[in-house]
Amino acid sequence: MTAPAWHSRSLVGKVFAARLATRAKTTATTALLAVAAVYVLVPIYWLVVASSKNTGELFSTNTFLPPSHPHWSTNFSSLFSYESGDYKWWLMNSFIYASAAATLATAVSTMCGYGLAKYAFSGRRAVFGLVMGSLMVPGTALVVPLFLLEHYMGLTNTYQGVILPLAVYPFGVYFMSIYAAEAVPDTLIESARMDGAGELRVLWQIGRPILLPGMVTLFLLSFIGTWNNYFLPLVLLGTETRFPLTVGLSAWASTLNEAGAGQPLYSNVILGSLVSVLPMLVLFPFLQKYVARGLTFGAVTGE
């Protein structure tokens, strides 16, 4: 093979070749990244397209092409009216569970983390050991005994029965103790004390504004975790109107293949899935920064 003309020894040729190589590498990189992006986006795209089809079209039209005219309005009214409107409850319940658990988890973890970081007291080491040790316990191992314990206490099938266990967030305590130790200066606390502020008031007026970004991160992690949780509410809840979206949609899905199950179920499950992820997907670009900070926290500190 003869070398192309630009492959000569001239400077112009070398610069040109280097630029061409860079462009080739850029194109190859972009192509690889695009393939991965397609893998991520295909199911989400399909969900949007499929949610506009009726059950017949789901099986007869091209999987990845929209129908001749969308059936969103019919599908929507079917979704919210099926079985006396259970879906409305699930949507509301998911919101209640996630926001209550996240609020409580954030408040309790922030107080505890701040207390561990800024005070000396006997038993402090023990509390820290407890928090770190509990990070080792896989969460799902506790679900079945939790059910039995809650059954004993009469907490199964209640809102608080789901919210309270999810408010226990050892990672949040660990996160906040490091965050508070680094972010809240002691001199600020001291001077607030000099002014006669009580300890809780110091936390509320001095600590809270400084800790707020960390608290947002904790809130989001806990909110998403609760919103996405399935195992725990599945085990703890028995009444349809108490279900969160995950448990409710799974209950619908389990009757999909039963003989005589209503045909609208396919479009209900598909549109129901879309509605349950849409708020988070839309907000995600704005939240990504906060969420990523929480995730990378454990991995990157002490790198």
């Binding site: 989400i44 085990v235 949609l249």
Partner: protein, 323 residues
């Protein structure tokens, strides 16, 4: 997070700032502040005692009781678990699952993170956002979407090989022989971006001077990635690998949902088996023992992996220190 716990325990607790300067004069004040500190941890400790420590202790007590009479029965349930072939088949299945899925996923995450961190990447922000999106999708929904997409009646793409004459029938990825691999596909979809996000942050902490120096020395972009970036983020890689192993052993949502959509089997994973033992067979005592055993397996697997990688890593660490 789990291993971080063990690893950081030596380095923590953070030195309490208010301490140190305590003199005899203000000792009482310090003590009062100490009480406030304890009081601030109280709400967490209260919830922890009831909803974390409580179930943990209860499951151990329960696991020592007879399923029939409820009386103390020693290690009866543990013996039953030891002889439960389905349970161990589930554990082995998850080991096989993890060996393939975790390897592929971590490899993909490393590859994508290095591409995003390299100089040939355009549209870094949009790509990292797209990859991270599945984190916002519940596992249940992910399994439902893929459950439909892997159904030949619903997905025209699965018919293509058949129409081209390559296979005798449309692809059936939810067939009992392939369903485990379909779950791998779903779990990889869900968690690759999450792991990549952690790696990208870790990569951004690699000192830029080191990379510049390598470039001046004439190192290619590939060898910079392989010889400098990778070794410097190896702790993070270990961390996400351990998290993934723990996640694999806990697998529940995806097989349960796929079973609802396509009957792939209701006892694929240990957590499914524990669920069935407790609720389908009403044997809470044996289920508690199985939970304890699964938790122990998880902890042992974590420590074992950590140990293996640490001994392997040692020479690498020395090289780096020498540099």
């Amino acid at each position: 997070m789990a291993v971080r716990g063990a690893e950081e325990r030596a380095a923590l607790p953070v030195p309490p700032s208010a301490l140190g300067r305590a003199t005899r004069g203000n000792q009482r004040l310090r003590q009062r502040q100490g009480h406030s500190g304890l009081a601030m941890t109280a709400p967490f400790l209260g919830l922890f005692a009831v909803f974390f420590a409580g179930p943990l202790i209860y499951s151990i007590i329960l696991s020592l009781r007879s399923p029939l009479t409820g009386a103390y029965a020693g290690l009866l349930n543990y013996r039953a678990t030891y002889h439960n072939g389905a349970f161990w088949a589930g554990v082995v299945r998850m080991a096989y699952f993890g060996a393939i899925q975790v390897t592929v996923m971590i490899g993909l995450a490393i590859g994508l993170a290095l591409l995003l961190d390299g100089p040939y990447c355009r549209g870094r922000r949009i790509f990292s956002l797209v990859y991270f999106l599945p984190y916002a999708v519940p596992g249940v929904i992910a399994a439902l979407m893929w459950g439909f997409l892997l159904e030949p009646d619903l997905d025209v793409a699965l018919k293509v090989p058949h129409l081209l004459g390559l296979t005798s029938s449309p692809l059936q990825p939810l067939d009992y022989r392939l369903s485990l691999y379909s779950i791998m596909l779903i779990v990889t979809w869900e968690w690759t971006g999450y792991n990549m996000t952690i790696l990208v942050t870790s990569l951004s902490n690699v000192p830029r001077q080191v990379l510049e120096a390598a470039k001046v020395d004439g190192a290619s972009e590939f060898s910079i990635a392989a010889r400098i970036k990778l070794p410097m983020i190896r702790r993070t890689i270990m961390f996400i690998t351990i998290l993934s192993i723990i996640g694999t052993l806990q697998l529940f949502n995806e097989p349960v949902i796929l079973n609802e959509v396509a009957s792939v089997g209701n006892a694929l994973t240990p957590n499914q088996i524990i669920y069935n033992t407790a609720f389908a067979f009403g044997n809470e005592q044996t289920a508690a023992a199985q939970s304890v055993v699964l938790a122990l397996i998880t902890i042992v697997a974590t420590i074992a992996f950590y140990g293996i990688v640490r001994t392997r890593m040692r020479p690498l660490a020395t090289t780096r220190r020498a540099r």
